[in-house]
């Protein structure tokens, strides 16, 4: 059996590769293969997969990409992820990508869809609208038809029909992936010392570039290896990390939280892997099933409307209760309107439930971790004092 160390090393190499060599190799392995990139938070990857194409998560450039051109496209008061994404495009690191999907996450990603059309007219580019009305006849019907049109567009790229049967099969593979990621998260919530969050992140992140079947195996291997290894348990508190659903925090930030005494037992990183909360049925109308899953059984983020006021912020409270967390860390990208506008409402709900929290901002290329480490350390100490009292 592979050791966690080896599995994580492979994931880290994938993470650090800003040329997407593994996706390039996948494409080159067979004639006619196509790659479709997508931005956070959610797109129905099943449809891409059903067309025999590789879905590729594009999550900015992290702290390793030197942004030279990207800054000429964005004012200083706009978050980092669009500029490093543009940098990836302008420097031809995405030149093998045949299509790009920009989901309806915020105005910045929305507008980036139009920029991409202007800058890369040869690439199939689509803004993927998602429903904010959760009635089957309204938002559901709209979203189903949007997916139908997306499917037609992707058929154009793939050069073949995407059949219902193929989508059903892809749903089954992605169901397996969702089950495995949930299992990994449940494992970490129980024994966080065995699955450091930076490792969990890298393992899940590998799924942004690997074919999903390979990713499924990778998670299985990691879980088996993590279970088999003994690692020292620290006297850390347990926290839920939130606000990280789009621009990625640097890996060092995740590491710093644990070093400062906080085990991350739940988070909203790479949410696409857990967006649909349950298995999507593999019988019946596949697009209808995906639409229903989105409406009635999907994750919550700041980018999603909460139609029932009483439910506002409850998902965080539930996450805390279910994972036995003792506090919440709000980490939002600087200038991120969705996360930052939502924050006061979420914090009010936590206050009402006596759940302690701290908040800070980051950028994908933040270098200085000392202040965050200090803040998290103080938070961890105060939680320990509080629970001891």
């Amino acid at each position: 059996m592979a050791a966690t160390k080896d599995i994580v090393a492979r994931c880290e190499a994938l993470f650090e590769d800003l040329n997407f060599e593994s996706a390039r190799a996948w494409k080159a392995a067979e004639d006619g293969r196509k790659v479709i990139g997508y931005l956070p938070v959610y797109v129905p990857r099943e449809i891409i997969h059903a067309g025999g194409m590789l879905p590729l998560g594009v999550l900015g450039g992290g702290d390793r990409l030197e942004v030279i051109h990207g800054d000429a496209y964005y004012q200083s008061y706009i978050c980092r992820i669009p500029r490093s994404t543009v940098e990836l495009g302008v420097t031809k690191r995405l030149d093998f990508v045949d299509g790009m999907l920009f989901p309806s996450t915020c105005d910045v990603i929305r507008n980036l869809s139009g920029m991409w059309k202007l800058m890369f007219p040869e690439v199939y580019t689509r803004y993927v609208d998602v429903p904010q009305n959760f009635d089957d006849e309204l938002g559901g019907a709209f979203f189903r038809q949007e997916m139908e049109e997306l499917k037609e567009g992707l058929e154009g790229v793939a050069g073949r029909k995407i059949t219902d049967d193929a989508i059903r099969e892809s749903i089954a593979v992605y169901n397996e992936n969702r089950r495995l990621v949930r299992e990994l998260y449940a494992f970490r919530a129980k024994q966080p010392w065995k699955t450091p969050s930076a490792e969990v992140y890298l393992v899940v992140r590998a799924g942004m570039v690997l074919p999903i079947e390979e990713h499924n195996q990778l998670i299985r291997d990691y879980l088996a290896a993590a279970d088999a290894e003994d690692r020292p348990m620290r006297d850390n508190c347990r926290i839920v990390l939130t606000g990280t659903f789009c621009e990625q925090p640097p890996l060092n930030l995740i590491k710093s939280l644990e070093l400062a005494g906080c085990y991350v037992v739940d988070d909203d990183l790479l949410l696409i892997t857990r967006w649909l909360l349950d298995d999507v049925p593999t019988e019946g109308d596949p697009l209808g099933n995906l639409a229903r899953a989105f409406l009635h059984n999907s994750e919550s983020t700041s980018a999603k409307y909460v139609d029932d006021e009483a439910e506002k912020g409850r998902y965080l409270v539930r996450a805390v209760k279910e994972t036995g967390a003792e506090g919440v860390i709000f980490a939002a990208p600087s200038f991120c309107d969705p996360a930052l506008l939502d924050r006061p409402m979420l914090q009010n709900e936590l206050k009402a439930n006596n759940i302690p929290y701290i908040a800070f901002k980051y950028a994908e290329n933040s270098g200085q971790m000392q202040p965050i480490r200090e803040q998290a350390g103080t938070f961890a100490d105060s939680i320990k004092l509080w629970s001891a009292a």
Partner: protein
């Protein structure tokens, strides 16, 4: 530098007096809504369904307009800071914070009278994600009924049947029944048609006024002045007889200016010689609105077309509210608002404006608050430059946060832009002579 000729014309404009009275009357109605037994609906400017709201005898209250008014009256800075004191991030849209701060400070409206709590929030989610959070924040405070109407974005630069069906269905099955319940007024489609008919009349006149800027010299300033012209139709008056009267009077005034070969009116009277014609993209700064405007008219610069005057409806390509297709035309109206259009569409619009209005170039006023407008503007500028061959310029301010208006910087930028235009002209002239 040209000196504007002092004039008493500003005071004499009937349209302006009319508009002042209309707005003051509206704030009066809001202030006495409770005593008068009237219910209030809060909603946003882009994609506002004023005709529908009026069909239910509801009064329309627009948080953005309150924020603008607070900005013009130099109160918004205080409100923004108040909201920040209450935990709102310095990074987010200042419109939201100005509104929240105003509420925290007692919700006294811009005319010094208290604004009523809304009975219903109609979140017509058009062209800006921040609206969703803004209404969640208001809902948390008011605990009142909230209607959510999703307006799909024109991602592919067009309105598809699916998008239209979705909006119409939401109107029929969700928005209208809820408004009936909240207001206690039965929906009457003929009443709605009547208001839509009124809207279309006013829209015709508005387009006529805005397009008058194609004349040389332009009789209007389509940005600073334009903001006054769009006030009634973007606000609480679209669909009313008042709006028809206002736009008719305005049209006549502008026609008279064209006939007399006059340029635009400024706060200091008639502008002198027209030296530069600009297209402007982006909202204005409201906290130093007069000073900002002065930087233009002092130099003889007039704005001949702007995207901000399209944010509450794009009418110049032929769209009108249509009494024969009431719900469909409300849907198309919402989806067609400027910030609901994709970037290639925005580039097309702006490049065409530069050509059709014979402008010297595109100036972008980039607003720190507003991702909806701002994300992508640097590319927009370069694309429009490329297509028109005219120089562009970029300045940065904020709508209602005075901390982000730096007069010296803005003035410098503008001056160098005007010099650039001069040089370009001389270059063009030399090339022309040489040819």
């Amino acid at each position: 530098m040209s000196t504007p000729t002092p004039s008493t014309e500003v005071a004499k404009d009937t349209s302006m007096l009319q508009q002042k009275a209309m707005i003051a009357g509206h704030y009066d109605r809001l202030a006495t809504a409770r005593e008068d037994g009237r219910k209030v609906c809060s909603t946003f400017v882009p994609g506002n369904l004023n005709e529908l709201i009026m069909s239910f005898d509801l009064l329309n209250n627009l948080p953005e307009v309150n924020a603008i008014q607070s900005g013009l009256r130099k109160q918004s800075g205080l409100y923004v800071m108040e909201a920040e004191k209450h935990g709102h991030s310095e990074d987010v849209c200042t419109y939201v914070k100005s509104d929240i701060g105003m509420i925290l400070k007692g919700n006294v409206g811009p005319y010094g009278k208290p604004l009523p709590d809304p009975d219903v929030l109609l979140l017509c989610y058009t062209g800006c994600y921040t609206f969703m959070k803004w209404f969640e924040l208001l809902r948390e405070r008011y605990k009142c009924e909230t209607i959510f109407l999703q307006i799909p974005y024109e991602g592919d630069g067009k309105i598809t049947q699916n998008m239209r069906d979705y909006v119409v269905k939401q109107l029929k099955e969700d928005v209208i029944p809820t408004l009936e319940r909240v207001s206690g007024v039965k929906f009457d489609i003929d009443r709605l048609r009547e208001y839509l008919r009124n809207s279309a009349k006013a829209e015709d006149d508005l387009v006529h006024v805005l397009q008058a800027a194609k004349t040389k010299p332009s009789p209007i300033d389509a940005y600073f002045g334009g903001i006054y012209y769009i006030g009634p139709i973007f606000g609480a008056f679209r669909g009313t007889e008042d709006a028809i009267g206002y736009y008719r009077a305005l049209r006549e005034e502008i026609d008279a200016r064209v006939a007399a070969g006059q340029g635009p009116v400024t706060p200091e009277g008639d502008m002198g010689e027209e030296k530069y014609r600009l297209v402007v993209e982006g909202p204005p700064n409201y906290t130093s609105f007069r000073d900002f405007w002065k930087m233009f008219y002092d130099e003889g610069a007039v704005v001949v077309a702007s995207s901000y005057t399209k944010v509450g409806g794009v009418y110049d390509f032929g769209f009108r509210h249509d009494p024969d297709h009431p719900l469909e035309s409300l849907a198309d109206y919402c989806m067609g608002c400027y910030t609901n259009r994709n970037l290639p569409q925005r580039v097309d619009m702006l490049a065409n404006y530069v050509d059709e209005y014979q402008a010297d170039g595109l100036l972008i006023n980039s607003i720190k608050s507003c991702n909806s407008f701002s994300a992508g503007q640097l590319l927009i500028m370069r694309e429009v430059e490329k297509r028109t061959g005219k120089p562009g310029a970029f300045i940065e301010t904020d709508l209602v946060d005075p901390r982000y208006f730096s007069p010296a910087n803005v003035k410098n930028r503008l001056e160098s832009y005007f010099q650039m235009i001069d040089q370009k002209r001389q270059g063009g002239a030399v090339a022309g002579e040489a040819a």
